[in-house]
Every structure is written in C-alpha cells, then in structure tokens.
Symmetry: C2
Subunit: 401 residues, 2 copies
C-alpha cells in the first residue's frame, strides 16, 4: 500500500490532533481543508495557484466526471491527476451525494441507485461496485464508499432502514475495491440518532476501512445537534485512522470539529462565496459589492499575504465584481481559499505548540467583534504604506453576517 | 516630456520598421500588439500573466471607465495604472468609437456628442475637451483625440463633412491637452476616399501630434480596400512618429500593415475568440469544442511555450469549455495572447535580422497549409514526450477557418 496516515501529536486539552497522510502523489497535513474541484478544476484557479495558497489535496466529484467527460475518457488520458495537471493528492466522492441532491427522479434499490443526468436527462445506474470502478478509473488517492444520503429530518425507522442499506453497500464497496494505491473510506450515516451513528461507526470499523467519514450532516439540523453527532461519533472510530467530516463548513465549525478529533474537511464555501462576491476575513465576511467599498483603497484584509490582498484594493475588487469581470472571480477565489488554507495552517501550528484552545478562543472572539477592530487596522495599514494622504478614507467597516 | 519614440531600424524591402517607445511607465517595442483591457482588466488574466506572455502595453476603454466606475474615482484611487496593478504603459481611446458602436441614440453636434449609457440609459455629453479631461484623470501614457467614426459606406460628401468635424475636434483636443506625461495621438479618418485620407493626414501633421492613428478601417470594407487606404496613408504621416492602426486585426493583416509602416495595433480578437473557444495557431484557428479533440492528448500547438500548451491537452481544454469552466477562458486567453505577442516578437526579430519578407512568406504559407503539417507535429511531439503508447491518438487536425 502506498498510503499511510501518521498521527504526529495529540492536543492535551481536546481530541484535536496533528497528522500527516502520505500518498503516491505526496503528503498532506491534517487537520486539512480540501478545496472542491467538481469538474476536474477548482473553479477559476490553476494548480500552481492552489499550491501557492497552501492546498495539499483537492476533491473532485465522481458524479460530474462520470457524466462529463466520462471516467473512461479520463482513464485513457492518464487519470485525473494528469488530465487536470494536479500532481498531488486527490480525493473523489462516490457520486452518491450529487445523485441525491441534483436529481428529482432517483430510485434506490438494494442493488444501487437509478437516476437521470442533470445535463441531458439520460438514464444511469450506479451500484456500489460501479462507484468503485468509476473512482478507480479516475485514479484518486482516496475514494469513498457509495452511501445513501438519509433525508432530514428522518424518523428512527427511516434512518435505520437507510443506514442498513449504506452498511450493506459499504461491505460491497470494500469487496469491490482492488487498487492498492487507493485508500477507501467508509461513511458513517444514521441521521441525528446517536444509537444509529454508533451502530454505523462500529460496523464500518468491523468491515475495516483506511479512513472514516461522517456524512449526512450540515443538512438543515442545528449546529448544536451537528456537534453532538460529531462528538458522539469520533470516539467510536478507530483512532489510528483519519476522520473526515464531509461538506463542513464555516471556519468556526471546522475549528470545533477539529476539537472533537476530525482530521479532514471539504466545502464549497470559499469558492462559491467568492463567485458571489463574499469574502472571508478573520473578522467575518465582507460583501464586496457594498457601496462603502467604492473608494476604499485598503486590501480585503490588511496584513493578508494572498496575491489579491498584496496587489488590489477593495475599490478595484468591487469594480470588477459589478462589471462582472472574470478577474473578480479569480481574485476573490484566491483570497477565500488562501484564508481557509492559512486558517488550517495556523490551527496546525497551534496544536503543535500546545495552544489550540487559545487559538480557538482568539478566532471566535475576532470573528464576532470584527467591526470594532477595523478602524485601527486601517490606520496602521495606511501608515505602513505611506498612504495617509490618499483621498477618501471613509468606509471600510466589515459586514459581519 | 517623459515619452519618446525612437526608430531603431528600417527594413530594406518594405516600409516595416523597428522601434521603441519610452514612457514614464517603461518601454514598449514596435511593431507592438496592444491587448485590450476594456474595463480596467484584460479579461480573465492578471498583469503578471500579461507580462509573462510578453505584453508591454495595454489599452483601456475610456467610454466604459467613464461610465463605471467613473474617471474621477479612478483618479482618486491613484490613476488607472495603480487601480488595476499594471505599472507599464497604457493607452486609452477617446471613447468615441464605443459611443457610436454601443448606442443607438447618438446626437452629434459641432460641440460634441450626446449619448445614453448602455448600462442604465442615463444621458451624457462628451466634447473633445471632456474626452481629454477624462483621459487625463485616468492617467494613460498615450491618449487619443475624440473623432467621429464615419459610417460605412459613406459618400464623398458624407465622409468629407464627417472628416471636417474630426479635424476640428482634433485641434480642440490638442489645445485642451495639458499633461506633459501624456502623449496625444491624432486619428486619420476620411472613409475609403484617398483624397480625404490625404487631407486628414496632412492637417493632423500640421496641427502636430505625438503619434498618428488610422481609424475607420475594418468596418466592413474589403481587405484590398483596407490595405490600399493604409498604403496610401502611412507615407503621408510624419515618419518620426509612431503610426497606430486601430482595431486590426488578424495576424496576417497585422503583418501586411507592418509592411506598410504601421507600428502599433490593438484588437479584441485574441481575448474574445478565447472566450468563444477559438484558438490561434501558426496553422490557423482551432475550434476546441470539436469532437475530434475529445481524447486528443496534444497541447493546442505542439512546441508553443505558453503556460496552457506546457501543461494541458486539447482534451482537457475541450472538457473545460463544454463544462463552461472559468479556467477554460483563462487558459484559452493565455494561449491566444501569447500567440499574438510571440508573433510580434518574431516579427521584430525578423526585421532586426533583415528577413522580414521571408518571415512574412513563411507565415502566410503556414497559415494556409496548416492541415498538412499537423500529423508530423503530432508524431514528433509524442515521441519527444514518450507518449507513443498513449491510447487514442486519432484526430488532431486543425480547423483552418
């Protein structure tokens, strides 16, 4: 096997841990944030830019690539890494989540799932075995079991029936899995029912996987419920394997999940919000189209080392966004991904230096009280840059949403 | 004055010439191709990428920037160079061309031109003096006189009346022009009438400008007529000043205009075609969405040194284009601009080495006979890359449009 997960350090005050995961395409450090590259590209950015921002692993969506350009085509082109010019770790999902979320006409049987393409209405069938075959053709370093995404809310009975199918499929996925270069992760389901989550964790551990994901969260439940499920589940998973919380989330949520022992995260928030003109800062979110930024010469976040903040003002970013320029999407995406990846980096450093809890407190308090801090940041930025005399220094408060 | 045009060499077999133009934001070499950055950004690319592709000067459109974000805002933000993070030469047009081409309700008087914004219908008036003031606020290194774009076709009488207005405005622009850091260019109009073009060239030379543009071409006339106008006009312009053919064009047209003594060109072709999935190669144009590229592992143009060709296959570019990914626009734009800028570079080298005519012949013959040459290019590329055994080597012929 060409992959290996190593835990480098455990936090004393929480379940947080520092690790590194080796694959045949290199290493990524945990806790890790995984940018989403749905259609074999992280929208608007190049692999070189991703590396510069600090990305070590990306996720691509099996459902989309299966439909277009087709997994067999990608195999013939030398696999996903080569096709998209990303020679570092890649994780693919099983396609299940998109099948359920992008299709109104889905029919689930014990055999698998029937659905119609959202592109052209063509009919398709994916079984657990097929999901593994597709992911083998794509050639990702980490592949996922096909699971049924339980509807929310689900009664105990519904969630239980759905979980049994997911566990049955997990067994079939593990049996179908053949490629020694690909790690395979099982997915814990069970709705918001702690006994079902427990059964899922224990059964998957019994089958034995290279890593374990927590699925079916961030689907409409309260944060309290979500964190309860995470806190209940992580202690039941094999402690020497990576734990991956799928589809989460906001920086503060990631932080709290790390506290519970989660090692990996993916989310479309930084890239999708970038396209909507919403930017992340340590003080909260900035809506760049707001009129108050029209003549604001500051970068999105003073002190941020990303390419966007090093060279462009909020005024310019606002102009690009209103003019619907492609460069707006690029510059916003660079800032947001850099923010998430730098945040993970800072968090890993904090764990390494035994100050995870202080780091978490600092993050939460900045995120809430952002508005008060900006005038000072502005003054020090302007004076550092010798910009005191630049006209129009009004505005510049952040929207905390 | 902080600008200076120097002719470094004249071709022996034609009117082609090699030059360099110094501004307070650095030098550009002529014959020069000027990428178009309409809204204070060359669509989809960064200034760093433009430099890497070989761009030395860009054009921005006064009409668009006047309407959004506004020239006074850009002045307050430190000028266009700083606003868009491009610290190299910039040329702005006068806004006239866009006023006439983007508006159906234009009223021209001797005083200036009344029009409505294409963004919100608001009413505006631009006089020759106002056009200069706007361009002063933007702070470009080279600014253009406001001219009336004569309709095509135009009778002798119509074209003559229109030209007199353009010449009257040119005088007022030169009088209104005050900034010693900005070179101002006059624009030769006169429709397709050689006596009017002659009158325009002589009158503008008499007024005295830092450079001379040929406007009103590429508006629907035949290539033969266009080249006749260029050939008739360039000998009448002051030979020590740069000559700029506005809005042209295809590589072969640029080559023939250089032969007639033109020094500067701008055109949206490379960037606009990139967004439509049409790529330039020495053999002609490639329509990347064509099915024959679906599994084509070659780069757009084997041997091309651009970022796109160094890392991505036609198959991947086709996938990105069909999936409507932003990266498609980026990679296509990089290839096309690199092609145009490299073409200018090769042309300058040919003039320097006294082989302009051979270069021109080679270009024209390749552009026409592209289809025959590709199989060979493919074979040598595959063998260089050790890709002989990669499956599916069919396809790969270029579309010559």
């Amino acid at each position: 096997m060409s992959f290996h997960f190593e835990i480098l350090k455990k936090d004393k005050s929480s379940r947080a841990r520092l690790g590194q995961y080796s694959t045949s395409h290199g290493v990524f450090h945990t806790p890790a944030f995984i940018p989403v590259g749905t259609q074999a590209t992280v929208k608007a950015v190049t692999p070189e830019e991703l590396r510069e921002m600090g990305a070590e692993i990306i996720l691509s969506n099996t459902y989309h690539l299966y439909l277009r350009p087709g997994h067999e085509l990608i195999r013939r082109m030398g696999g996903l890494h080569r096709f998209m010019h990303w020679n570092y770790p890649v994780l693919t999902d099983s396609g299940g989540f998109q099948v359920f979320s992008l299709n109104s006409l889905v029919k689930v049987t014990e055999e698998g799932v029937h659905f119609q393409s959202h592109l052209d209405g063509s009919r398709h069938f994916i079984s657990p075995e097929k999901a593994i075959q597709i992911q083998e053709a794509l050639g990702a370093d980490i592949i996922m079991c096909l699971d049924e995404c339980t509807a929310y809310p689900a009664s105990q009975e519904e969630a239980s029936r759905s979980l049994e199918l997911t566990l049955h499929w997990a067994r079939r996925c593990q049996e179908a899995h053949a490629s020694p270069d690909q790690a395979i992760f099982g997915i814990v389901q069970g709705g918001m029912h702690s006994d079902l989550r427990q059964r899922a964790a224990e059964t998957l551990a019994e089958i034995g996987f290279d890593g374990y994901a927590i699925g079916g969260l961030s689907v409409g439940e309260s944060k309290e419920v979500m964190f309860q499920v995470v806190a209940d589940t992580t202690p039941l998973l094999p402690p020497d394997r990576p734990c991956y919380l799928m589809g989460v989330g906001l920086p503060g949520d990631i932080l709290e999940a790390v506290r519970q022992g989660v090692d990996m995260f993916d989310c479309v928030l930084p890239t999708r919000n970038a396209r909507n003109g919403t930017l992340f800062t340590r003080s909260g979110k900035v809506v760049i189209k707001n009129a108050k930024y029209a003549e604001d010469i500051l970068p999105v976040e003073p002190g941020c080392a990303c390419y966007t903040c090093r060279h462009y003002s909020r005024a310019y970013l606002r102009h690009l966004y209103l003019a619907e320029e492609i460069l707006a999407v690029r510059l916003n995406t660079i800032h947001n991904l850099h923010f998430f990846l730098q945040f993970m980096n800072d968090m890993r450093k904090a764990i390494a230096e035994d100050r995870f809890d202080t780091f978490a407190q600092g993050f939460h308090s900045n995120w809430i009280s952002g508005e008060e801090q900006l005038p000072e940041a502005r003054e020090s930025y302007l004076s550092r840059q010798g910009l005191r005399n630049v006209k129009n220094q009004q505005g510049g408060k952040f929207d905390v949403q």
